[in-house]
């Protein structure tokens, strides 16, 4: 059976990448305080960790679905 659990609260990888973009942009600005830098850096690293965790690295076999939603190997 495939993992069909929808992650509703957790941001998608796409959203996480967007957030990373804005974090990097803020980090690159010149008038950021060192304290804020540390906070942003930590947030960014945490997001990266979550993203990596979200990519499940189990190879999948193609499945077949019947009219009534039953799955079987194709």
């Amino acid at each position: 059976m495939a993992d069909t659990e929808k992650t509703t609260q957790e941001p998608t990888i796409e959203e996480s990448l967007k957030e990373l973009d804005s974090i990097v942009e803020k980090l690159e600005s010149r008038d950021i305080s060192l304290e804020d830098s540390f906070v942003l850096y930590q947030q960014g690293m945490e997001l990266l960790r979550k993203c990596s965790g979200k990519i499940d690295t189990v190879e999948k076999k193609m499945l077949k679905i019947s009219e009534d939603g039953e799955l079987s190997e194709f």
Partner: protein, 406 residues
């Protein structure tokens, strides 16, 4: 004796005969259109004729969907339906369900008509297009379980991201029942819940691809809550399904590329973000350190210790300068003195005494220059080069040097 029947009975009898006839119930007849009348009720009355004769035809308003072009006299058409009896006139006629232009381009006419109809309904409008998720985890596929399309999709998807779950709905993609099967597939996968659905098949003739030009399929795609990528035939084939889909892929392989993000690129971009985060953080730290260094230098410069050291240096410096100035002054004074000594030497009375002159002073050591200073009997000191002679004034007499000389 033969029985006698009413007109109604005969007409009814004949009608029953027609209806029981297998061929007449499902027949396609080709011919040229004549006497074509579009009735206000929506029914169309016309005749089909050829060299040998004519046949009355009617297409009821309810069947108008079977006519995808505007029929006119002289058109060569194929009309399909059933031949039956119109009892009121005792006439048989064709009840047409579908009329198509005979020959090439006829499916194309239907295609254009449906395309226009659905377009007018807004089914292709951009505002209904759902975005395709960039990182789909499960991808539904509606296509034939045999054939190249499913293999292409499997290969491309597997190469780009083997961790994506593909779920195939094995569908009939051409012939009888194809559109129902495709619709069922879309609905099943939509209900099951996947991130994106690919609907398509490999290339073929316009007839082979026809199921993807059916309104039912277009509607199923339109109503599907999951984003749909269409992938029908080759690049040059554009079907109604392509217009209704959220994204059109030119081929099934291309659809797989659009549906499945390349995992290596994702990993790479994650790595890129990590590096960027680290680099910017390092930059921040570097800048702060530079600032720190700057203030440190500044503070060092301003520290009391430094002030004292600096004052001491200045003091020593001043001392040096004073001393050298002093030395200089002394040297100059000595120099002057020497000059005076030399000059004084020339003026010294001693040198005069050497030449036979002497210096006379009274008892108060005052130089005697006039007789008025001396009385008879006064003691006088006569200074000569090697000592002093004490003398008593024996006499004082005046003398005028000036008048003597003249």
């Amino acid at each position: 004796m033969n029985s006698v029947y009413s007109v109604g009975q005969v007409n009814n009898y004949i009608k029953t005969m027609f209806q029981q006839d297998f061929l007449l119930n499902r027949i396609s007849i080709k011919g040229e259109v004549s006497n074509c009348k579009y009735h206000t009720s929506g029914h169309i009355y016309f005749s089909l004729k050829d060299e040998t004769g004519a046949l009355s035809c009617v297409m009821f308003a309810g069947q108008r969907k079977g006519l995808a072009f505007s029929m006119k006299n002289g058109d060569r058409v194929v009309a399909s339906g059933s031949v039956s009896v119109y009892e009121r006139d005792g006439k048989y006629q064709l009840y047409a369900r579908e009329i198509t232009l005979e020959g090439a381009g006829l499916l194309y006419e239907r295609y254009l008509a449906l395309k226009k109809e659905l377009e007018d309904m807004g089914m292709f409008a951009a505002e209904y297009k759902r975005p395709i998720p960039r990182y789909a985890r499960t991808v539904g596929v509606v296509t034939a379980p045999t054939g190249a399309a499913v293999q292409d999709i499997r290969n491309v998807a597997g190469r780009r991201n083997p961790y994506v779950q593909l779920i195939l709905y094995p569908a009939l993609v051409q012939g009888e029942g194809a559109k129902e099967s495709i619709v069922k597939g879309i609905e099943t996968l939509d209900r099951y819940g996947v991130d994106v659905i690919i609907v398509g098949r490999g290339g073929g003739s316009i007839e082979d691809l026809w199921a993807f030009n059916e309104e039912e399929v277009a509607r199923a795609i339109f109503n599907c809550r999951t984003p749909v990528i269409s992938a029908v035939g080759h690049e040059t084939d554009t079907t109604i399904a392509d217009y209704a889909a959220d994204l059109r892929a030119p081929t099934p392989s291309a659809a797989a590329e659009l549906a499945v993000a390349d995992i290596r690129l994702l990993f790479e971009s994650l790595r890129g973000y990590r590096e960027k985060l680290e680099r910017t953080m390092e930059n921040q730290l570097y800048m702060v350190r530079q600032n720190l260094k700057y203030y440190q230098t500044k503070l060092n410069y301003l520290s009391p210790e430094n002030k004292i050291r600096e004052s001491r240096t200045r003091l020593m410096d001043a001392e040096d300068r004073i001393q050298s100035a002093m030395k200089n002054q002394i040297f100059l004074a000595r120099q002057n003195l020497n000059v005076y000594i030399e000059r004084m030497k020339g003026l010294s009375p001693l040198s005069k005494l050497n030449q036979g002159f002497s210096y006379v002073e009274d008892k108060n050591q005052k130089a005697v220059t006039s007789i008025s200073q001396v009385k008879k009997g006064d003691t006088l000191n006569i200074q000569v080069t090697d000592g002093t002679i004490k003398a008593l004034a024996a006499e004082v007499s005046g003398r005028n040097w000036e008048s003597e000389r003249s």
